[in-house]
Amino acid sequence: MALLEIRGLRAEVDGQEILKGIDLEIDSGQVHAIMGPNGSGKSTLSYVLSGRDGYEVTGGEVLLDGKDLLVMDPEERACEGVFLGFQYPVEIPGVPGTTFLKTAVNAVRRYRGESEFDAMQFVKFVRGKAKEFNMSDDMLKRSVNSGFSGGEKKRNEVLQMAVLEPRLAVLDETDSGLDIDALKLVADGVNTMRSPDRAMLMITHYQRLLDYVVPDVIHVLFGGQIVKSGPKELALELEKEGYYQFFETAA
């Protein structure tokens, strides 16, 4: 059984169908990338997987370790191991980073029947993670993403992923808005998180990120459907040829 199974997934936003029957399986330990032009449904797929309001599923199913994800609230999905790395991480002024992480980690631990961390245990745990991912203590103390640079926000996403240790990480345009140094830092973080127990789905526009986080499989999403899948070399082909070939097919 694959870790993630998506079958015939259809979804609409404001009455308009965006996903038109998606089939996708990802095994544990694998990293898949989804590429596609603007408006092809990439971000919609990430929101449908994480359960955001306003994204209505009209058909198909999504199973995580065989469990039906679509009936779950966003928080339940997170507790089951779904992690969404946001394209635009949200700023939450007034909520300190550590408070946020502790609340999240303990919610997940509670769900899994593990004991909650007390303040001391948590500080030790999170400091260790922060060090591993080159995050300063200062960034933890500040309000969540408030006034962070683009690079800091994306590194913060990676830290959250590291702290929550998901089964499935969906990374939406993790490379957007990053200069090359920031991209390398974030990519290093993502690579550190690769594990036989985890699957990753990277959503990206450009091939650039895939030089640093090399996927096992690449899919092309176009017009709400996966129109092509292949090995990592497919990214190079797309970079060269662009998405025009699919426009022609569609026409």
Binding site: S50, G51, R52, D53, D73, P74, E75, R77, A78, C79, F83, L84, F86, P89, V90, I92, P93, G94, V95, T99, F100, T103, A104, V105, A107, V108, Y111, S143, Q160, L164
Partner: protein, 442 residues
């Protein structure tokens, strides 16, 4: 005032019986001040919806309540101050139903250069300064509840900080309302003045038990270059009415900062009036308010830029739940010669339920032509994106909402520089949130 007329007025039913026992009754200047108040209240009557200043706050039900004036009732037994006051190291002045209770106070820690007395004692010992201070009160001719307070002038404390004296330990005035049987009304008048170059911090906590009306008025005078941090917690009993006004006068370069957490009571109105009457004076009015059940929480401010080169800032944040109603009325007046005025005002309300309501009336009245002024009022629900972000990390929806409400209210505390004192307010907010959670879980 002939007998009968007064007794027909709401909230004055026992006035004729109480009047002879008021401090310094028969002292000419004091009688004059009280009679002025009485005449004004008789003329204005209990404010109603037709009064522009009271358009959103209806006192009808309060006016129908037969209160017994605190002065006329027995002093309630009280071993300790009830819970819910600010927990800070301070010189404590405890007033029970408006009257100073020395046994619960600790005036011993009073630093040199600070003088504290009650209105009653001040009158007894001649009271020339106090006569002047009370007479100076330029505001309130159209404020019926202040007129009522003046008619009952008796309770309250006088705090004088001498020129150039800087007090490190704050002064904390704790008002406790206690009504064992009949509803009680009290009308404390506090007078606080800082001489030129003086500085200090003045706290108020308002708590209580049972059904009562606290109709307080505070007059504050800041001399040249004086600095006052004024912080208030309104955490009255859920059966209480709280109507209060602070009238502040600022001399040149004086700085006044007010932070109010407005959280308790059945119906509560907190008014702050500031007149910037010396050049380069500066005032900051900040606060947070919360409502739940059918609470009515009113914040009304008036900032009067009377001279050039003054600065004012105002930021209030409110979180309203259930069927509660919040009111924010803020007016900035810039008089003709008050050039280079820099005045800004903002009210942000968070509506946490379908039944909650906010009435906001920001107002600018500007007669000068070289000014920087703005006002704004927002009302909204919790941010859906923030909520989803938290939930996508495993945080339960209810917990995520609490985190965001806490953050929203917490932000209002940023003006309080001292972390420890900020925590005192934070504790009250946290308590409000945990009670909210408990009610939800029931």
């Amino acid at each position: 005032m002939p007998d009968g007329t007064v007794m027909d007025l709401p909230l004055m039913e026992d006035y004729d019986a109480v009047a002879p026992g008021l401090a310094g009754a028969g002292v000419e200047w004091l009688d004059k001040i009280r009679n002025d108040g009485l005449a004004r209240y008789s003329k204005l009557g209990l404010p109603g919806p037709r009064d522009e200043a009271w358009k959103y706050t209806n006192l009808t039900r309060m006016g129908r309540t037969r209160f017994v004036t605190g002065l006329a009732s027995a002093e309630p037994a009280l071993d300790a101050v009830p819970e819910g006051v600010l927990d800070i190291d301070a010189v404590r002045l405890v007033l029970v139903n408006g009257r100073l209770r020395p046994a619960l106070s600790n005036l011993s820690a009073l630093p040199p250069g600070v003088f504290i007395t009650t209105l009653e004692d001040a009158v007894r010992s001649g009271g020339q300064v106090i006569a002047q201070r009370l007479g100076q009160n330029t505001y309130g001719h159209d404020m019926p509840m202040l007129a009522l307070n003046t008619a009952y002038l008796h309770d309250g404390v006088i705090v004088e900080v001498a020129e150039g004296v800087s007090i490190e330990t704050p002064i904390h005035l704790i008002s406790v309302g206690v009504a064992d049987n009949d509803p009680v009304a009290f009308h404390p008048r506090n007078v606080i003045s800082l001489g030129a170059g003086a500085s200090g911090t003045f706290y108020e906590s308002h708590v209580g038990l049972g059904s009562y009306l606290s109709n307080g008025a505070t007059t504050l005078h800041l001399g040249d270059d004086a600095i006052l941090r004024h912080r208030k917690l309104q955490n009255e009993s859920n059966l209480a009415y709280h109507v209060a006004s602070a009238s502040v006068e600022l001399a040149a370069r004086a700085r006044y900062e007010n932070y109010t957490l407005h959280i308790g009571g059945r119906l509560a109105r907190n008014e702050v009036h500031v007149i910037l009457q010396g050049r380069e004076a500066n005032c900051g009015l900040y606060g947070a308010y919360t409502g739940r059940g059918s609470q009515h929480i009113d914040t009304t401010t008036f900032v009067d830029h009377a001279v050039p080169d003054c600065t004012s800032r105002e930021v209030y944040k409110g979180a309203l739940d259930d069927n509660s109603c919040g009111v924010f009325q803020g007016k900035i007046l810039v008089r003709k010669n008050a050039q280079r005025t820099d005045g800004h005002q903002l009210n942000k309300a968070l509506l946490l339920s379908e039944g909650a309501e906010i009435d906001a009336k920001p107002e600018l009245e500007i007669y000068a032509d070289d000014v920087k002024c703005s006002h704004g009022a927002t009302a909204g629900e919790l941010d859906e994106e923030q909520l989803f972000y938290l939930r996508s990390r495993g945080v339960m929806e209810a917990e995520a909402r609490d985190l965001l409400v806490t953050a929203f209210l917490d932000e209002s505390l940023e003006v309080i520089a001292d972390e420890e004192r900020r925590d005192a307010f934070r504790g009250i907010i946290a308590n409000w949130l945990s009670e909210r959670r408990e009610r939800r879980e029931k």
